[in-house]
Symmetry: C2
Subunit: 289 residues, 2 copies
Amino acid sequence: MDSTTRIEQALVSAIRHSEQPGCPPKLVAAMRHAVFPRGARIRPRLCLAVASACEDRAPSSSTAAAAAIELLHCASLVHDDLPCFDDADTRRGRPSVHRAFGESLAVLTGDALIVLAFQTLARAAVAAPARLPAVMLAIGDGVGVPFGIVAGQAWECEPQADLTEYQRQKTGALFSAAAMAGAAAAGSDPEPWRALGDHLGEAYQVADDLRDAVEDEATIGKPVGRDKALGRPSAVEAYGLLGAVDRLRGLSERAIASIPESRGQAMLGALVRSEMQRLLPRKLAQQAA
Amino acid sequence: MDSTTRIEQALVSAIRHSEQPGCPPKLVAAMRHAVFPRGARIRPRLCLAVASACEDRAPSSSTAAAAAIELLHCASLVHDDLPCFDDADTRRGRPSVHRAFGESLAVLTGDALIVLAFQTLARAAVAAPARLPAVMLAIGDGVGVPFGIVAGQAWECEPQADLTEYQRQKTGALFSAAAMAGAAAAGSDPEPWRALGDHLGEAYQVADDLRDAVEDEATIGKPVGRDKALGRPSAVEAYGLLGAVDRLRGLSERAIASIPESRGQAMLGALVRSEMQRLLPRKLAQQAA
C-alpha cells in the first residue's frame, strides 16, 4: 500500500471511531471538515518515509504515528484560524472551521483532534506497546511546551520574539516530530533524524512566508498578505523576497545533507528536492533563476 | 506519601518540564495559573483511590494517570470559560485564564495542557510501557469524541440535547476515566470500575447545578446563575431544587453500591459519602433534612 493510501485510510478510520450514535453530530462534522479533503499531508509522508528508510517492519505503529502527526497539524490549523489569532475565513479553499461551524465548535474541534491523535497511537499500540513511549515523546515534544507548535504560536502573544526560534517552534518542531516519530515507530533511535525535520520545517515556514507575500488566495486556498497585515515576523520581512528564496534553497540543501546514512537516504533526498520545487512560487522561481 | 502530595508533586513536575529557557514565558505562566493553586483535585484522588483499592504496586503509573486526568480537567475549565462558551471572568476565586492572559493564550493554554497530560503519561511509562495503552484509552475515552468531555461540551452547540447524555459526557466521562485509568494503571481490568465513575460524575454535575442555582460567587469562586442566564440544561431546571437534592443522594448511593469487591471497598465508600456532604450546599442540606 502506498503512503498516501495508508495515511488517508488511517485518518478515515480515526474519524470513524469518533462517530457513533449518541455523539454530538456537528462536532464530528467539523472534525471531518478539518481533516478532509486532504492537504499536502507532507508531515505524515515524511514520517512514513523516515520509517521506511529505517526498515520499518511493523507498519501499524508508523501508520498511527503518521496519522497522529496529521491530526495534530489539522488541530493547529483550526485553532490558528480562530478570530483571536489569524481570523482566517478560508483554509484549503473552503470556509475555515469557525466560519463553517462557529467559534465554539472550532475550539472543541481542535481539542478533539489533539485527543484523537493520542487515542490513535494508543489503539495501534495495544498489542505491542514497547515503542509507544518514544513515539509519544517525539510527538509531544513537537506539539507541546516548551518547544512545540503550541509554544511557537504563543510567541505571537509575546512583546518580542526571535524569528528563528518562533519559526522553529511553530513549524519546525512538528517536522522534527514527524521524522523522529517515524524512526521511533520503526524501532530506531529518533535523535539522528532531528536535524532533517528542523531544516525542512524552517524551509516550509520560509516557503509559506513567500507564498503569503506573492501568491493570491485562489492559488493557495487561504487568505494572503496576512503576515504584513498583522505585523507578524516573516522571512520576507527579514531577508527580502530574493533573500528568502536563497534561504529556502540553502535550507533544503542542509536538510538533504543531514539525512542519516540509511537504506532510504537517496529516496528521501529526492523527496525533499521535489517538495521544494513544488513549494517555491513559480514567479519567484523564474525571477531567481 | 499521601494522595494529595503525590498529585501536587506530579503536577509541579509536569509544569516544570514545560518551563525551559527559550519557551514563551507568558504561556507557561498561564498554564501554571490554570493548574495552581489547587482545586478539590477530586478526579485525581478518585484515580489514586481506585488504584490503591486494586493493590497498586507500581505507583509511578497511577500517579502519572492522576496528574494527566487533572491536567485535562484544568484544560477543559480554561476552554469552557472562554468568551465563546461561558464567558466566565473568575474561576477558583481568581480571574479566569482568558481574563488574566487574553483569549489567544487561553486557547493555547488549554491545548498545551491536553498535550502535557499525554507527555506526562509517556514520561512515566518509558521504563514499563505495558500498561500505557489501557491507561491512555481510558483517559482518551473520557476526554475525546464520541463520549468524552469535549463531546459533552459540544452538545451546547446542538439545537437539542438529552440532559442525561449531556451531563454524562460533560462530567461523568472524566470521572469514569479517572476510576478506570486508576484500575488500568494498577494492572487491573478497568471495566468493572466504569459504573462508579459514571454515578459519581452525574452526582457531581447535579451538585454543580445546585451550587450554580443557590450559592454566591464568593463561596464557590466562580460566577453563579450561569445555567439560567445562558438557558443551559440543568438538573435544577429539570427536577426543581429539592428534586435535584434527592437525585444527588440517590446517585451517591448508587455510586457506593457499584464499587467492585476489593481491598479498598469500604475506604472508597467513605470517600464518596464525605465528598457528597462537602458538595451539597448547606442551606439545601438543612432544608432537605
